[in-house]
Symmetry: C2
Subunit: 337 residues, 2 copies
């Protein structure tokens, strides 16, 4: 590994000049710059990032906090992979890399510090937080500490934090309007956990859209699920047991929608003839499962791109207030409506 010193010797300049070529090239004469760059390639010089970080306090590393919930190790984001690809690509365009933070050693009084410590130790420039739906004190501690954070699907407040979500309320309204157009009047919903931001917003949008259309919503038409298959299944069974059962259901997540479909079929009913179903997310399975799940699609790559841009903006202009992003959703009509 060639060092800056060797490169400087080869070029008969000081290491300061070499350093400038890579950090403030405009300060170096055209000719000298060219020569140094050429020799750098020839001898295979690469600046040592640890040394740079030590000297500048900037690591060009962004931490990724992701499965923060140790109580639910099997937790999966519906489209983590798409987010990661987009995030990684967008960040690398700004010379930033992603460091995956392990959610290790989460017990004891210092659990609250667990991500903050990683930030300090590795001099992380910022953090991207993919929420699992629970408010983790270790995550909240980051905002307090003034670490630039952008959270996905989780409201994190603070002068150095912002968040990216879908337009959850608007998406729910899309689903409701679609069902009304199809002639439905008795529309129920299977919600996500209400302590989660997407869960709460989708219900808010659902209620508002029904009210806007002048339809009444019996309270027994609102059943809380857990975003998972079994929760959707159980919720649907309760809805089917009602005296006046709904003719359509908006499930606030595709997995729950699929669980609901299963419950409908098990009850000897048909989708969409007896009960129509609309989901939310547009995960891969939605298109694959017969007869195709009608659902509110989220802009999966948009999450990653928007998160990267929000973070870069904060790193660059730390004083600006960070505006939250709400990504537009679209309705994908398939066979279940």
């Amino acid at each position: 590994m060639a060092t800056i010193r060797e490169l400087a010797r080869h070029c008969d300049v000081s290491i300061a000049t070499v350093s400038r070529v890579f950090n403030s090239p405009e300060l170096v004469s055209q000719e000298t710059r060219q020569r140094i760059l050429e020799v750098a390639v020839r001898i295979g010089y690469l600046p040592n990032e640890s040394a740079r970080t030590l000297a500048t306090k900037k690591s060009h590393l962004v931490g990724l906090v992701w499965d923060t919930d140790h109580r639910r190790p099997g937790w999966r984001h519906p489209f983590l992979q798409e987010i990661l690809v987009a995030l990684k690509t967008a960040l690398s365009g700004h010379g930033l890399h992603l460091l995956m933070l392990a959610a290790a050693d989460s017990s004891g009084p210092e659990a609250r510090q667990r991500f903050l410590r990683a930030v300090r130790r590795h001099s992380l420039d910022g953090l991207v937080i993919i929420d699992n739906g629970e408010r983790d004190p270790a995550v909240l501690a980051l905002a307090d500490a003034g670490v630039p954070c952008v959270a996905l699907d989780l409201r994190v407040d603070g002068p150095t934090s912002t968040y990216v979500t879908s337009d959850n309320a608007g998406g729910a309204a899309l689903a409701v309007r679609h069902l009304i157009e199809r002639g439905h009047r008795r529309i129920a919903t299977i919600t996500g956990p209400q302590q989660t931001w997407p869960g709460a917003e989708r219900l808010t949008g659902f209620r508002a859209a029904l009210a806007g259309a002048g339809l009444v919503l019996p309270e027994e038409y609102v059943v809380e699920g857990d975003f998972y298959l079994d929760g959707g299944h159980a919720a649907m069974r309760r809805l089917l047991a009602l005296d006046e059962r709904p003719t359509a259901v908006f499930a606030a997540g595709d997995e729950m929608a699929i669980g609901a479909m299963r419950a409908i079929v098990e009850a000897g009913l048909r989708v969409p003839d007896d009960v129509a179903v609309v989901g939310f997310d547009d995960i891969d399975v939605a298109a694959l499962i017969p007869p195709g799940l009608t659902t509110v699609a989220q802009d999966k790559a948009g999450f990653g791109t928007a998160a990267a841009e929000a973070l870069v903006a904060m790193l660059r202009y730390g004083d600006e207030p960070a505006e939250p992003t709400a990504l537009p959703t679209t309705l994908v009509v398939r066979g279940t409506t």
Copy 2:
């Protein structure tokens, strides 16, 4: 941020002693060690990783190479998320973190160096490579350069490399034996791309199992797919057009199996009555899609765990030959057989 110097002053010792407490505690007297540790917690001292890396050349960082194929940006591993969780957890148990390497700037003559450069710049201790099915010269360059590597589903040779795969041939044999038990004699296969290791091995296992059972395999019963839905669909159509069509199909990937099922239904035939289908992977959809896809399940978490262990072994005992791992597979019987 407290530094080692401040901590040393607080404790009335030299910085060398403080350093030893964190690196070779057995060299420090019990009493001194205790005192330093207590004050460290109190003033919030955390060793600076950049400084450590600069001094020791070990970063405790493992690079993750993943979507190496820029020609196919939409490429998705069937179960990346499970692998990541397991990998991250296992690595963190050894004090290692994962750095996601962007596949950026992949053009020009230095494309071959693209991962190697990241290794050098960030002093990465090693690399985990999740293959996309193509041989990337930038990946091969790593093994040549003596970087500790462990690849998933890709054979990477070299004194500092090893790889983890499923027992692909054995898994294919499980599928074949199951179909034979179900009474099938005319068994076809939709293969993965033959330049990929899993694609080739699954076909090898398929052939061997049929031969072992004394069954003949007409060459037109072997159709190459691409691991994706459409490829499976197209391959199945060719099989159904045969004069003597097969009564069962082994698809070397679940997505292809689902595509095949679709082609069977489109042809007015039923699964499994007219044609039985077995897949490979056991992705989420396999259980969700009616009537449930019979498939060869891979040990998804095992990939991550085995990769971490192989890497740690190499980092620790660099001279030992690295034995490849073949993870056992299991047959999951559902409705398609």
